[in-house]
């Protein structure tokens, strides 16, 4: 009887894993089939106004890239503070708040940025979108930097100090270097995550049908456009939405896999 219960349990567990894998497979296959069906080279050469996706792909990468440019240094330095310099309660508070913000609703962040960077400036603009994405990125980077730095053994820091190096030198020359791989992975994963976001952009930078590098106006976004296209009645719009979804997912998963590949040797 006990053995039968055990067998049942094991079977259910394996079954759950299969369900999880099943959903993943289902979604990926759907994307593959529907996405590839609508895929052709012109998508990469034309902008949305001409039925292509070029401006959206470039726009999304620019938004995410700029957000990373802002978010990564700020997040890393803040992470360094709470792990290396922080004394007691304040550092703990920041760590906890940052942790909470990682899971905060992205649409609320969009609304927040809307209130101070869109409404007073006369409408949707790329800057607001970048700000919204950076706000999402910073807590993630803080989290990952903090974690990776905590894995560096304290003896390494002591050895640096014992040679007469000042604390910031030890941090930059030795500790960060030692945690380099883990931090890089964390950064890549964070980038992949915000590159796939829609809600923070919905009413901050919105999207655009045209190719644009001008952040002062509404800025093309792959994710927001997928949402719009999916809501349009025409079949051609939906097909485009599938192609865009395929490209978006490919982008995000590739960055993810690269990040994991980098830490393949670490425990």
């Amino acid at each position: 009887m006990r053995l039968q219960l055990n067998k049942l349990f094991l079977a259910l567990s394996v079954f759950s894993a299969l369900i999880g894998l099943g959903f993943l497979g289902w979604i990926l296959i759907t994307l593959f089939v529907k996405g590839l069906a609508s895929m052709h080279l012109s998508l990469f050469l034309n902008d949305l106004v001409d039925g292509g996706l070029r401006n959206l792909i470039v726009g999304q990468l620019i938004l995410a890239g700029l957000a990373a440019l802002v978010g990564i240094p700020l997040g890393m330095v803040a992470g360094i503070y709470i792990r290396e310099y922080g004394r007691g309660k304040y550092a703990e508070l920041i760590r906890d708040l940052s942790d909470i913000m990682v899971s905060a609703p992205s649409i609320v962040i969009g609304a927040f940025v809307y209130a101070f960077a869109v409404a007073p400036f006369g409408g949707a603009n790329g800057f607001a979108g970048v700000i919204a994405l950076s706000i999402m990125m910073i807590p993630i980077i803080i989290n990952t930097t903090d974690s990776m730095l905590s894995l560096v053994p304290k003896e390494l820091r002591e050895a640096g100090i014992a040679l007469g190096a000042s604390k910031y030198r030890v941090i930059l020359d030795i500790v960060i270097k030692a945690a380099k791989v883990g931090i890089m992975t964390g950064v890549l994963l964070a980038f992949a995550r915000i590159a796939g976001e829609t809600a923070p952009l919905l009413f901050t930078s919105e999207t655009s049908n045209y190719f644009s590098l001008d952040l002062r106006d509404s800025f093309p976004s792959l994710t927001v456009s997928i949402y719009n296209l999916a809501n349009e009645p025409e079949k051609s719009s939906r097909d485009l939405a599938w192609a865009a979804s395929f490209i978006l997912t490919a982008m995000v998963l590739i960055i993810n896999l690269v990040g994991r590949y980098l830490t393949r040797h670490k425990k």
């Binding site: 055990n6 369900i19 999880g20 979604i27 709470i82 508070l93």
Partner: protein, 322 residues
């Protein structure tokens, strides 16, 4: 140089605090007109964007003569929106009333459905990864689950709408875009996260404890049930609550699948709306009191999420992961 670096890093860290306070303050300020107008009654008022005669007080939920047919009402309200300003300074015979009950209920219900669906599967996956699978299989499946977590939520919306929703409505009847569909897809979305945190929790069980049980002749099931789960109970509950907190704020997938209809669902297969969806869908055209009402909803959502996530973190999770 050392002092400079210390100051810069301190400033960056303080930025987090400033952001959080800024978000809360901005939401509150933007929501204030609606808060002043509707007060706490907002939370239990199921009318959204409805015209009511000025003579009524806000406390009469049931006596709205215009609220007979929900759909017709929306049409009337829309027309009036075009003619009248939603500014309550407008000297009109009617005023527009907003209430957040429907989105709030939708948020909570969809999240509960997600949790119910995801919990057993996530537990099963966690057990599989932690105790059953061989090292290589565990690694492979683990990566697969993490990839599932990495898929952008809008993709879940697309797939959910065109492939999952028809199956649900075929199986359970009712609408394709509904509370049920949204809840189930939400469940698929929080599945990886719950599984991962539960697995990490389970892995904190000391090997010696497990070995002692096996040495007594316990089966795997018994070791999981009697040793691992009790030991990691706190972390597991924490992961559940944390997943709940995240699900509350999920927007895009739910926007595709819940129907965006401002009415309380009578059946689980009816369409309804959630707070993030209300915001996503209406923000573009909203202005004045309507926009303020959306901020009010946002504030409620923010407070709800913050509370739930804090509960998970401080009461249950003590840094389960590295």
């Amino acid at each position: 140089m050392e002092k400079l670096f210390q100051k810069i890093s301190f400033a960056s860290a303080t930025l987090v605090l400033i952001l959080l306070l800024g978000i809360f303050t901005t939401l509150y300020i933007s929501a204030k007109p609606a808060i002043d107008e509707f007060g706490l009654h907002f939370i239990v008022d199921k009318r959204w964007n409805q015209e009511v005669p000025l003579t009524q007080t806000d406390n009469t939920l049931t006596q709205t003569p215009t609220a007979v047919d929900e759909n017709a009402d929306d049409e009337i309200a829309d027309e009036d929106d075009m003619i009248l300003d939603e500014d309550d300074e407008e000297a009109a015979d009617t005023k527009t009333v907003y209430g957040g009950l429907v989105p709030i209920v939708g948020t909570i219900l969809s999240t509960l459905i997600a949790l119910t669906f995801a919990l057993p599967i996530a537990m099963g996956i966690a057990v599989f990864l932690a105790e059953i699978a061989s090292k290589n299989v565990s690694k492979f499946v683990g990566i697969a689950i993490e990839l599932l977590a990495a898929i952008p939520s809008i993709i879940f919306g697309m797939w959910g709408l065109y492939y999952f929703a028809p199956i649900i409505s075929d199986t359970f009847g009712g609408y394709q875009v509904s509370l049920l569909t949204a809840g189930l897809v939400l469940g698929v979305m929080i599945l990886p996260f719950m599984a991962a945190v539960t697995r990490d929790s389970m892995n904190t069980t000391p090997d010696v404890l497990k070995e002692s049980a096996y040495a007594l002749g316990a089966t795997k099931f018994e070791v999981v049930k009697d040793v691992i789960f009790p030991y990691s109970k706190v972390g597991i509950i924490g992961s559940i609550i944390l997943a709940l907190g995240r699900a509350l704020g999920e927007t895009m997938a739910v926007a595709f699948l819940i129907g965006a209809v401002y009415s309380l669902p009578e059946k689980i297969t009816d369409p309804t709306i959630s707070i993030p969806v209300a915001m996503a869908v209406n923000f573009g055209e909203a202005s004045g009191l309507g926009e303020s009402a959306l901020f009010y909803l946002g504030l409620i959502l923010f407070v709800m999420s913050f509370a739930v996530i804090s509960l998970a973190k401080f009461y249950f999770l003590k840094r389960v992961k590295s």
